[in-house]
């Protein structure tokens, strides 16, 4: 039990994610979390106005069940399988974060400077969450997949389009962290 309560090392976590991918393939489906965003749009009636959302979303219900499970898994891990969270970030990361104005680095999963209700409902905080979410939603469909569909499933099956998409993920991420963050924070 002590091992479970500790944060899991990368060499345990990575193979576990591959097992998730493989189980879904074994069940005759495929691993892709961003597809659910399209499914949810279709359930909301987007198919009446936009061709892209006109598909049999009922065939995707299994994937929404995976999402429901993921939420439950997050709840279980956070409430029952974790010691008080202390993320073992590198010293240089903590230093960089402090200089950007994030003072509670490693005390929780997410910085209160962005995700506490006070921060999230400030003009700047709300803009960041909305723009960030929008870019993820737009980009993932444009690229035809996200970290699960491209970085895990696509790379595991040695597909070139996924490698290109992952290179794109990193171009975007590096631009954001190295060039835009210093302006924002």
């Amino acid at each position: 039990m002590e091992y479970i309560l500790q944060p899991w090392p990368w060499y345990v976590s990575g193979p576990c994610i591959a097992i998730v991918m493989f189980l879904l393939l074994y069940f005759g489906r495929s691993f892709g979390m961003s597809s659910n965003l399209r499914t949810l749009c279709a359930i909301g009636g987007a198919g009446k106005r936009v061709e892209f959302f006109k598909f049999d979303w009922k065939s995707q219900r299994w994937n929404l069940i995976v999402v429901l499970g993921a939420i439950i898994g997050g709840f279980i891990a956070h409430n029952y399988l974790s010691n008080p969270i202390h993320i073992d970030l590198s010293e240089s990361t903590v230093k960089d974060l402090t200089s950007l104005g994030f003072y509670e680095a490693d005390q929780s999963l997410l910085p209160p400077e962005l995700f506490s209700w006070d921060a999230a409902l400030s003009a700047k905080g709300l803009s960041i969450l909305i723009i960030g979410g929008f870019l993820v939603g737009f980009g993932t469909r444009y690229a035809g997949g996200c970290t699960s569909g491209h970085a895990i499933t696509g790379l595991s099956s040695l597909q070139l389009p996924s490698l290109i998409a992952v290179v794109g993920f990193f171009i975007g991420g590096l631009i954001m962290i190295h060039f835009i963050y210093p302006i924002l924070f």
Partner: protein
Amino acid sequence: MGKYIKFLLVGIFFGIVLVKSEAVSWYRIFEMFKFQSFHMYGIIGTAVGTGIILLLLSNQLNLKTIKGNAIKVPLKEKGLVRYIIGGTIFGLGWALCGACPGPMYILVGTGVFTILIVIAAALLGTYVYGVLKNKLPH
């Protein structure tokens, strides 16, 4: 309902793994793009490495799905523009809010309800893509 139980269990396992690995943490994503720790690279690297081995093995052993078909991964369409531009847009968002689609849902379970704002915005982004799809280079 019975046939959905296995998907629920896989989802629960996925949620637990991503929280316990700290891959759902905004801080870990920041650290990854700063190249200041091996942690996230180790997770992605071993996931892909294990994935390659599992797929090669299942191919060699001719493993079947529970429906009796060959196990195969859906092929992505060929292309360059959509993957590089779409991927870059995704990366900008991923680094800005520190969450990709899987972790967004999982974080709801950990009690961070402000992430619902991010999810709502991601739905809007997906919708806008659907509207603009035919006008974008792919």
